[in-house]
Amino acid sequence: MYIIVVGGGKVGYYLTKTLVHEGYEVLLIEKNPAKCETYTERFGAVVMNGDGAEASTLAAAGAGRADVVISVTGHDEDNLVICQLAMHRFKVKRTIARVNNPKNEELFRRLGVDVTVNPTSVILSLIEQQIPDRHFVHLLALRHAKLAVVEASVAPESSICGRTVAEVRLPAETSLIAILRGSDVIIPTGQTRIMAGDEIIAITRRESEEQLRDLLVTN
């Protein structure tokens, strides 16, 4: 598999290092000639100096035969254009973009970039999961399916305490995956009774997330 990485900042550097180590054919495109020299000394001849958003650079890099193009520069507009050029000009099947501003994630998706990785959101969500006494935590977003996996602790005042799963009116297209009670993990059935303090892991539509939060956490 041939992978082109554009942008030799910290992300690009460690990504290239990992991919080279795993035996992939990799080419890193970086604008700054001094960085290219350093990286070439470290990784060998897998570094190319140039502007990855220039079609001529991508052509010289052999983008036409690349299986994946990953753009991880610090500028969203560059990452977008690099991925779009790769897709439309060079018919690259899979493109992955780093999205620096979380606001741009949805835009990239609408403009056809296959996968976006947003370090800001990733860091936020990891920190969020570590803050104690959070009652409703967003664990994972399944972007293409518009689904979210969430974790919530059932508040004592919630109307669902003491009811069985079958009795609870969950928001549309929501399933309870697991209930963590003390050290037990319960895979719920309709007969499972929900208790105050239960940690519930559920999968839900993104738009039903708020409704689920209200149901489990507030009343």
Partner: protein, 161 residues
């Protein structure tokens, strides 16, 4: 000298839009991203003609290029940010110009205008002819100064010979 003909691909040309707007006495709402020489010039011209103009530039000093009597809005911020564009009234815009000095910024902001805000007339300046060609084929209306000016320069010499 002949008028500059842009290499845009046959949309309801913005030229026609402004003339039509002028003729029937309605103001056209215009957003311009990039207040360099070209952006400021477009802003001043359309403002003078009575259209409602907002100009966006990340550098507040760029607005010095606008004429003293400019009556439109000048918004400091980056054109690839939806909130900045909203502040520039993009939701009511009939025409959108992406004329910063960065090709990629112009490409991205034009796509935001076209895809998210569904502005009817969007034009982006793209210096790199290959990128210009790619995005024109993808349905973005583009002007490539590199090819346009090169052609004009050659024509000037040949016309004078």
């Amino acid at each position: 000298m002949r008028p500059v003909k842009c290499c845009s691909s046959g949309q309801d040309s913005s030229d026609a839009l402004f003339r039509r707007g002028h003729r029937i006495g309605i103001n056209v709402n215009v957003v311009i991203v990039g207040c360099g020489r070209v952006g400021a010039r477009i802003a001043a011209t359309l403002d003078q003609a009575g259209h409602r103009v907002s100009v966006v530039d990340s550098n507040p000093a760029a607005f010095r290029r606008l004429p003293q009597d400019f009556s439109g809005k000048a918004i400091v911020g980056t054109g690839i940010d939806e909130d900045v564009l909203k502040a520039a009234d993009i939701e009511e815009a009939d025409a959108f110009f992406a004329v910063t000095n960065g090709d990629n910024t112009n490409i991205m902001t034009a796509q935001v205008a076209q895809t998210i805000f569904e502005v009817q007339n969007v034009v982006a300046r793209i210096y790199d002819p290959v990128r210009e060609d790619t995005y024109r084929k993808m349905g973005i209306h583009t002007v490539c100064p590199t090819t346009t000016i090169a052609t004009l320069m050659i024509d000037e010499i040949q016309g004078g010979a």
